[in-house]
Symmetry: C2
Subunit: 224 residues, 2 copies
DNA sequence: AGGATTCTGTTTGATTTCAAACGAAACGGT
DNA sequence: ACCGTTTCGTTTGAAATCAAACAGAATCCT
């Protein structure tokens, strides 16, 4: 397990915890490790899980299948990403996806109860671990809420302006860079790339925005 | 403060904590209370907050204003709802909304640090409190993720079927009730109510679904 | 029972988006 | 400098949504 310490320390869950304490800590957490061959299933959809998975090697797919059995890939995980934390922490829920190894992979399992229960033996970093977990969940909440705000807008134009406005607010300037290219921005906003490009052109012609590559500027308030 | 104990005990944050421990607990948390007149502002957008608010009386609006100063009401809070928990727990963030009292209101403030730091004096329920907080954040995460899945679908029909499929999966049956009326469902899915009704009719005619009021049945897999 | 209100389904024309295709520009590697 | 790939803007017809309006059904209230 020691060979994965550098991966583990890169995980937000162990942020601010020194690598030297890992051995005793992982012990204290009753952490187990398992390897999966390519194609193996780590968890099945509907499983009631009580452990959080931390991917330390390989590549996992989160696969969702609807009532009719159609499967779709919800996300791809690479080290040191985690999975199952919301389901574990949220209580009685069951996993809404299957977890499948797309490459030979290794996963560290951390018991949820052991994480959120401060140990009587005064494990120094346990409190920090809990704060990290809370921070991770809260952060994800904020990101989801922000995205939701943009996506709930009805038209492509509104979605785009909602997004650009948000970034401008965050940066505190009406001129800023965005971290997406066109296709990524379209995916993020759940619209068609071509339609997005077309709207951008219109807004530029109308003098509302200007842009060049990833740099954008808000010029004036849009009509309506 | 005692008169609000019944409200407080209804908050998910204090679930499983007996009312008798409230006095000592709220003390231990360094909890403060403030009253606001109708129209008063509890927090301003952009404030860096370190306390979680628990509304015990009145009614609050979360108001967001974009870069151009247009304001919109994001949510309405009634007791015993909380606010600011994601921002506090998420670390360096600033409040993305203003909090305004729409009626004469009273708010309990709980210091974030005091909540997530188990006290040395072995406050019995502190651990439970932390688990509750984690549970709240995780739960919200799951709800947001589910909604996101439906809303990112491109067409009204896809959004509807994604939602109905999810409910059917949860209920474990292809025949089920939903907790929304038409307008609420349309709002939840971010589509036009009339367009939603029209799509529902089409799907019924096509033999894909059947419904009556809030009761739905999935009959067969949709084409495409 | 009667009347007002809310909820739902349907239609309409205008608007918007989708999906696919294409060319130009930018980029990267050899 | 060359070629292949990716990115971006534009156009097109087809399809879907919006927004508004209206009527019937259900519900609530007195």
């Amino acid at each position: 397990m020691k060979k994965y310490f550098s991966i583990i320390s890169a995980s937000p869950l162990f942020q601010g915890i020194s690598g030297e304490s890992f051995s005793s800590m992982l012990d204290c957490l009753g952490c187990t490790q398992r390897a999966y061959e390519k194609g193996a299933t780590v968890f099945f959809e509907g499983d009631a899980i009580s452990e959080i998975g931390l991917l330390v090697r390989g590549r996992l797919h989160l696969v969702k299948s609807d009532v009719w059995g159609n499967e779709s890939i919800v996300a791809e995980l690479v080290p040191p990403e985690m999975f199952g934390e919301a389901v574990c922490c949220g209580g009685a829920g069951r996993l809404p996806v299957s977890v499948v190894a797309k490459e030979a992979s290794e996963v560290l399992f951390l018991g949820y109860k052991k994480i959120v229960t401060t140990c009587p033996s005064a494990c120094t970093f346990h409190a920090k671990l809990i704060r990290n977990m809370i921070g991770i969940l809260a952060e994800k909440n904020i990101l989801l809420s922000q995205k939701m705000e943009h996506i709930t807008q009805r038209t492509t134009k509104e979605k785009l302006l909602s997004y650009l406005g948000e970034i401008a607010r965050q940066r505190g300037s009406k001129s800023f860079d965005i971290p997406f290219n066109r296709q990524e921005l379209a995916d993020y906003l759940s619209v068609e790339r071509s339609a997005l490009s077309a709207e951008m052109s219109k807004l530029r012609k109308a003098g509302v925005i200007d842009y060049r590559k990833n740099h954008f500027a808000l010029l004036r308030e849009p009509d309506g």
